[in-house]
Symmetry: C2
Subunit: 226 residues, 2 copies
């Protein structure tokens, strides 16, 4: 709280302020948010923003990390409020979908096509896996509690394809569970993205909950979560 910290505190506030406005612009204009426009909104010169973010990509990275954490946190919260694995599973999926419907452009930022010139730095890897870890954890939990019928091991011998992901993100899980977790996660992303990006008709309506739940139940069934 000394005067020495004032600069740092103001800087942190300013950084947060920029992100806030940028997020607002993201919500309206999409992923091609303009650094200059953000600066205009903040009544500051565009060059001043570069004191806080070295480039537009760095600002995007900050937003991406926040988005991953937001959706991850949201899913974790939802899952925590249920007891049975299947309920936790469905709660997490619905939380992800609800968050996506509330923040479509942020969803597009993290799970849509990568922005053209942008290369995700390492910092985004960890928060990006929160939802996956949650699903995997739920499934692993159900396994340990004996709620899942014994599955036959993987056929086709592609287990080694999953090794890199398995050993970094989902250790201590049998290959079959890793495969099912990843498949379910992709299913979740696919369902949400399809609904959000208007793959078929652009009638994105929140009351299509039923179909979404049908899909996520299917994914759970596929993973052995009855």
């Amino acid at each position: 709280m000394s005067a020495a910290n004032l600069r740092a505190r103001v800087r942190a506030e300013m950084t947060e302020e920029i992100k806030k406005v940028a997020r607002r612009h993201l919500a309206t204009d999409g992923a091609d948010l303009s650094l200059r426009a953000v600066a205009r909104d903040l009544k500051m010169a565009s060059s001043a923003v570069y004191r806080y973010f070295a480039s537009r990509d760095e600002l995007l990275t900050a937003l991406i990390i926040d988005a991953y954490n937001e959706v991850g946190h949201s899913a974790e919260q939802a899952a925590a409020s249920a007891a049975a694995p299947i309920d936790r599973w469905l709660a997490a999926c619905h939380a992800v979908r609800d968050w996506a419907l509330d923040n479509p452009h942020q969803w597009a930022l993290i799970y849509g096509s990568p922005v053209p010139g942008y290369q995700a730095p390492k910092d985004t890897v960890m928060p990006a896996t929160r939802v996956l870890l949650l699903l995997g954890g739920t499934l692993a939990d159900a396994y340990q509690k004996g709620l899942v019928p014994r599955r036959e091991p993987l056929t086709g011998g592609f287990a080694d394809e999953l090794v890199p992901v398995a050993e970094t993100f989902l250790p201590d899980l049998p290959p079959r569970v890793v495969a099912d977790t990843m498949a379910a996660f992709f299913q979740l992303c696919g369902a949400v993205s399809a609904e959000l990006f208007g793959q078929l008709n652009n009638t994105v309506e929140r009351d299509r909950r039923g179909f979404f739940e049908y899909q996520m139940r299917s994914a759970a069934t596929l993973a052995g979560l009855a």
Copy 2:
């Protein structure tokens, strides 16, 4: 071939040439292809391009329609080369994935997040459904041949959510089949996009075929295609 047709013919050739170069730029630069850069490549003024495409969005639309048709055609070809429904199913899925791996930016254009200011015109709806129709057709075929065990009807009463899609794209199919077709289609999109957009690790490798096939087999199983 009369002289009267010269203008029209040159125009058609020019249009195709622009699309060709644009597609090349798309492959390298991604969705933010520059109309001016395309014009430069063609050694023409940027304003001249506007004689052929009223806007950058219109050029994108043309590329999108082509992409839909390409991937659709590819899937149809692959499916036609197999006999049993499950083989046709898998062949179609692999064809879609292979095309996507070959043309990642085109895939992003049609199945990724929508480009910011862009609103898809009606022209894109029809070609967009080719893959979906193919999957649905394969499934319907299997049904008619009695290869699919009788499924219980949908529970949860969300069949009406699917009505708009069902009646415009998949008529004459029971709601259950419509739901399964759509779910499988989303699963396909999700699997390909996840792999392509590097959701987890950016190790997009063609030899992850095994895991992809595992997912698509699961989708088929879910849809009753043993």
